[in-house]
Symmetry: C2
Subunit: 220 residues, 2 copies
């Protein structure tokens, strides 16, 4: 086990190094980069489809999935360049995968880059990809106790989106409870309830992205 831990620490420190290189690359291009993390079925790809249609900025997407390129095809159909990473079993993206995928995009032509992580509320939280912010996506039918039960993501996420608010009439869910639990773990977190189906609550999310792009371009 000690041997395993030492090797594990080496993998982690290598990832930190590549993530820093990714961050420097993104900074040079004045790009705002968001790492989108949520369970399978929380609605990450549908959120991105709606975001790409309404944002009015030049966006690219790196899609992480264990298997299939279903999601990258959906993103391309929404009009944005997308690179698919198939992890072939790995439970989260790492900085090296993102580095390779980024080299296939024309970063100079973009304002904002979304990285859709593998559907998993646990493992992606600890792995820096070189993003500016982690965005946690949870959804109403998952239940309002999820932030309390999966804290690793919620202490790190700058934004928490509570998706599928259109289903609030059909399930028991307290937006107040979920929001309060998020703020207990990270008082600075921006918590935004929204629906990718009806677009209710979408405007504050788009405005959050636009502000990030303005900041990135001022620094870039």
């Amino acid at each position: 086990m000690a041997q395993g831990k030492a090797a594990g620490a080496k993998v982690v420190s290598k990832n930190v190094e590549i993530a820093a290189a990714n961050r420097a690359l993104f900074r040079r291009h004045g790009l705002f980069v968001l790492n989108l993390i949520g369970s399978p079925g929380a609605g990450k790809t549908t959120l991105l489809e709606g975001t790409l249609k309404r944002l009015g900025l030049k966006a690219g997407v790196i899609e992480g999935d264990v298997k299939t390129s279903i999601d990258a095809e959906r993103i391309r159909a929404a009009g944005a360049p997308a690179v698919q990473i198939e992890t072939q079993g790995a439970c989260h993206l790492d900085a090296a995968m993102v580095s390779r995928a980024a080299s296939e995009l024309d970063l100079g032509a973009l304002d904002v880059l979304f990285i859709e992580n593998v559907g998993n509320l646990v493992c992606p939280a600890g792995s820096d990809l070189g993003e500016d912010v982690k965005v946690a996506l949870i959804s109403v039918p998952e239940g309002d106790e999820k932030p309390a039960k999966y804290p690793a993501l919620f202490v790190r996420a700058a934004v928490v989106l509570i998706n599928k608010t259109d289903l609030l009439p059909y399930v028991e869910y307290s937006v107040e409870r979920a929001s309060a639990d998020c703020r207990k773990m990270n008082n600075d977190a921006v918590v935004l309830p929204l629906s990718s189906k009806t677009y209710e609550g979408f405007e504050p999310w788009l405005e959050y992205i636009r502000a990030g792009v303005r900041r990135a371009q001022a620094k870039g």
Copy 2:
């Protein structure tokens, strides 16, 4: 990385050994053991609550969570003995955790043991706990492409439960597509749509468990 892999292989082979010991222990008690795997919010605990109320057999539960004992408290309120494992960050249960938890239960007094894994559709699939069957729990609001996107679980699961069928009128979901994708990966899989809210489709699931208990008791 080679060092990491060697240490990783050692951890895996240790887990195989402990899982075999768990399986032998469960066999001696004539217990039917199910390892329940699904995303956060797929409805694992609610499914168990309904199952415990309607099954009419003596059941125990081992609850795996990254954090909190919310789920074990819910199971105890439903009238069954429950042991909580808090993994403190680990993304799936392993056989050693289950071995320790099982030692806190009076196995001789039980017919069936449910192990609720950490909410995660990726990582728990590869880790044998000593169970008789893996049960995959997916839910309607997650979307019908989940089996195709997360194959590691679906090639191994003896049963796939498609939960929250009460939400079918409000979201786009093809039970046929999800079922067909499951059968492509494992032609022997029993695919059962059901609702833990309305109990629609619950009886075939209960009957599946009862048949497993009869088989285990005949062997035990």
